[in-house]
């Protein structure tokens, strides 16, 4: 291994001139991959190797980047003029990429057959101004996880409405050292934890006219509900010290009755808390049913010189066998119809529980400056949880700030 490396360094200096001649015969496609788990890198290496075998003239260069640093990496790459040819991105960033002319519209590449392999719900978020700017590459829908042991011990039944949740919560939190609801209050997706309530209470992230929906009566009511749960000791104390991972860890420890989560947590629970008796449930309702659908997008860069080769690889990577392996390995919901039709997704109770929400799933709006808007929302929620401001004051201020960012 090390020898190879030494040779590489030696060669790169020596053979620079000669190499360029060779490089011309081979086309290299740079592919930036977000790292979902330790399986991600090896999986894409395998796909690339299989592809290169069929297409010896194309070289796929996989670059695996940790999720938290993906946006920074792409920003520096683009600013430095060395963007990759294709990349996995969070769909919430797609509009920024599209508006700046960095994403390549894919309509002219997509054959009708290829297009029809995708599930429409997941294709929709990638459509901007009528053009398809990317392909869904990973999808998840959120759901509630309940700890059945705790419910049994407390004599409560898993809730289907927020009122039932509140009643059950009172019973569960009566158990010693147990909290009823895990409440996230820190870092990535703190806002999502609030949207679950926002939507089911009948609110929306954006109003029809594009202004922020955070100051709507529904939003304020939803925030008040979370705050009431917190005040009455029905959630774990100090949510602002709990990131997504921390809340899930409480659940793995069997310390919390209910959490809102994604399907990727299931394999972790199986490995780290094999004895936990859990059940996947839809989100409680108030006015309407809702879940949060999240997709990641495969985007092609407009500046790429090797679009044809890149596209060839994309089509290859979307073959059923690869998609199936990827989705199962990472614990995602399938984005293509053929994989979704596999028995696994019907017979596996956990996955089916998450997939059940898809017909009424809501997606984060594709708008510019999404990260900044999410950050404003998170800070408002933190001020509420810390009792620095009332839900009404915090959300009204946040809505005003968001409207200013959006220029509304």
């Amino acid at each position: 291994m090390y020898l190879r490396k030494f040779r590489k360094f030696a060669c790169s200096a020596l053979a620079l001139g000669i190499m360029t001649g060779v490089a011309n015969a081979q086309t290299t496609v740079d592919f930036t991959v977000a790292e979902y788990s330790s399986k991600t890198g090896p999986f894409f290496d395998e796909v690339a190797a299989a592809f290169e075998k069929e297409n010896p003239d194309i070289d796929i260069n996989i670059e695996v980047v940790p999720w938290d640093t993906l946006l920074q990496r792409l920003t520096t790459d683009i600013a430095g003029g060395v963007a990759p040819d294709i990349s996995i991105i969070g769909t919430r960033w797609l509009l920024d990429f599209a508006q700046q002319g960095i994403a390549e519209p894919l309509d002219s590449y997509l054959t009708p057959e290829f297009k029809s392999t995708f599930i429409d719900t997941f294709m929709q978020p990638s459509v901007i101004d009528g053009q398809i700017m990317g392909l869904p590459v990973a999808a998840s829908a959120r759901a509630m996880l309940v700890n059945m042991d705790l419910f049994e011990k407390a004599g409560a039944t898993p809730p289907t409405t927020w009122e039932e949740l509140y009643e059950a919560a009172k019973k569960i939190s009566a158990l010693p050292e147990i909290y009823a609801l895990g409440l996230q209050g820190k870092e990535i997706e703190t806002d999502a934890y609030f949207y679950y309530a926002l939507w089911t209470f009948g609110g929306n992230i954006l109003n029809e006219d594009g202004t922020s929906g955070l100051d709507s009566p529904e939003a304020i009511e939803a925030a008040r509900f979370y705050k009431k749960m917190l005040d009455e000791g029905l959630t774990q104390p100090s949510p602002t010290n709990y990131s997504r991972e921390n809340v899930f860890n409480l659940f793995k420890q069997g310390r919390v009755g209910m959490i809102f989560t994604f399907p990727m947590l299931i394999p972790q629970i199986k490995a780290e808390a094999p004895d936990l008796d859990y059940k996947v449930m839809p989100f409680p309702e108030k006015v309407t049913k809702a879940t949060y659908g999240v997709t990641d997008t495969l985007m092609m860069f407009a500046d790429s010189d090797v679009k044809a080769e890149a596209w060839k690889f994309i089509e290859f990577a979307y073959k059923d066998e690869w998609r199936s392996k990827f989705d199962r390995g990472e614990g995602f919901l399938p984005v293509t119809k053929n994989v979704a039709a596999e028995d696994y997704y019907k017979t596996n109770e956990d996955i089916a529980g998450f997939a059940a929400g898809l017909p009424y799933a809501k997606f984060a709006p594709t708008i510019a400056n999404w990260e900044e808007i999410a950050d404003v929302t998170v800070r408002a929620l933190q001020r509420i949880y810390l009792e620095q401001e009332t839900p009404e004051a915090a959300l009204t201020a946040a809505a005003a700030e968001i409207n200013e960012i959006r220029g509304k």
Binding site: M1, Y2, K5, F9, S12, E35, Y36, S37, S38, G41, N61, I62, E63, V64, V65, P66, W67, D68, T69, L70, Q72, R73, T76, A79, G80, G81, V82, E177, I188, E245, N249, K252, Q253, G254, R255, F262, M264, L265, P267, Q268, A271, E272, A273, P274, E330, G331
Partner: protein, 276 residues
């Protein structure tokens, strides 16, 4: 009671709070690194565990491609240290021995280069490396680390060199030795402790640097240790904490050993007129 024993007890009593605080995270790392995965999230959290799993290290080694990252880190840290020293020694010698125009400006320039954090400059550095065609190449890190460390190494070396008596070299010239010759034969051997110290500083900076390594290095085959370990944590849906901690332990141990081995040098080097 002998006074040395008494003194030692008092000293250790004074040091103990700090020692505890310093060792605490290392203890956390160690007990997390060797426990089975299903004991990561027990409640209440406890130090003990059912079985001592050395396998965690082996699994981690394979899974995170640790060996290669270790090699990359060594490559970058050693070469950047060598480069920084090779460039710093003549510069420090010039500063300590000769007057020359612009000397004051040069010193100010050195201090100013210390003030720029790589984080602040990361975009510009990246554009530079793109222009040089060195993105994704470990040597880009060698160059940047050396450049950022040089201010410190030159400074340390020059104040050390100033304490070496000039007579020794001058005596050699009279004997007919060439300037360069006297530098290599007489002067440099005397400067070894200072060079050891600056080398350690430079090495540690390279060993631990994170932001630039993350930005410049493309392929995960070329990741350095901090990036490799951080990528096990950052934004993953599944963080395998026992592997993360095992990786951290393994990345720390070599430096800790080097420390205890070289610490006499370290302090002597600092002592002999290091910073004035």
């Amino acid at each position: 009671m002998p006074s040395k024993l008494k003194k030692s007890l008092i000293y250790w009593a004074f040091l103990s709070p700090l020692v505890v605080v310093i060792l605490f995270p290392f203890a956390v790392m160690l007990v997390t690194a060797v426990r089975p995965r299903d004991e990561l999230f027990v409640y209440p959290p406890r130090w003990g565990f059912s079985e001592f799993r050395w396998d965690n290290f082996a699994e981690m080694w394979v899974k995170t491609n640790f060996g290669e990252a270790l090699f990359n880190s060594l490559y970058v840290s050693v070469l950047s240290t060598v480069l920084a020293l090779v460039l710093s020694i003549p510069a420090a010698y010039a500063l300590s021995r000769y007057p020359f125009p612009g000397k004051g400006a040069y010193r100010t320039f050195l201090l100013m280069t210390q003030m720029m954090s790589p984080i602040v400059l990361v975009l510009g550095l990246f554009r530079l490396m793109v222009a040089l065609g060195m993105v994704g190449n470990l040597n880009s890190l060698v160059l940047t680390y050396a450049a950022f460390n040089m201010a410190f190494t030159i400074w340390m070396l020059q104040s050390y060199f100033s304490t070496i008596p000039r007579d020794l070299e001058e005596a050699a010239w009279i004997d007919g030795a060439s300037h360069l010759n006297s530098l290599i034969r007489i002067f440099l051997p005397l400067a070894v402790p200072a060079m050891a110290v600056t080398a350690i500083f430079s090495f540690i900076n390279g060993w631990n640097e994170f932001v630039l390594a993350l930005t410049m290095i493309r392929s995960s085959d070329d990741f350095t240790l901090p990036v490799q370990i951080y990528s096990q944590v950052a934004g993953r849906y599944q963080v395998e904490w026992h592997h993360v901690m095992a990786g951290t332990v393994l990345a720390t141990v070599p430096v800790a050993i080097v420390f205890s081995w070289l610490q006499k040098y370290l302090i002597r080097g600092m002592a002999l007129g290091a910073v004035k």
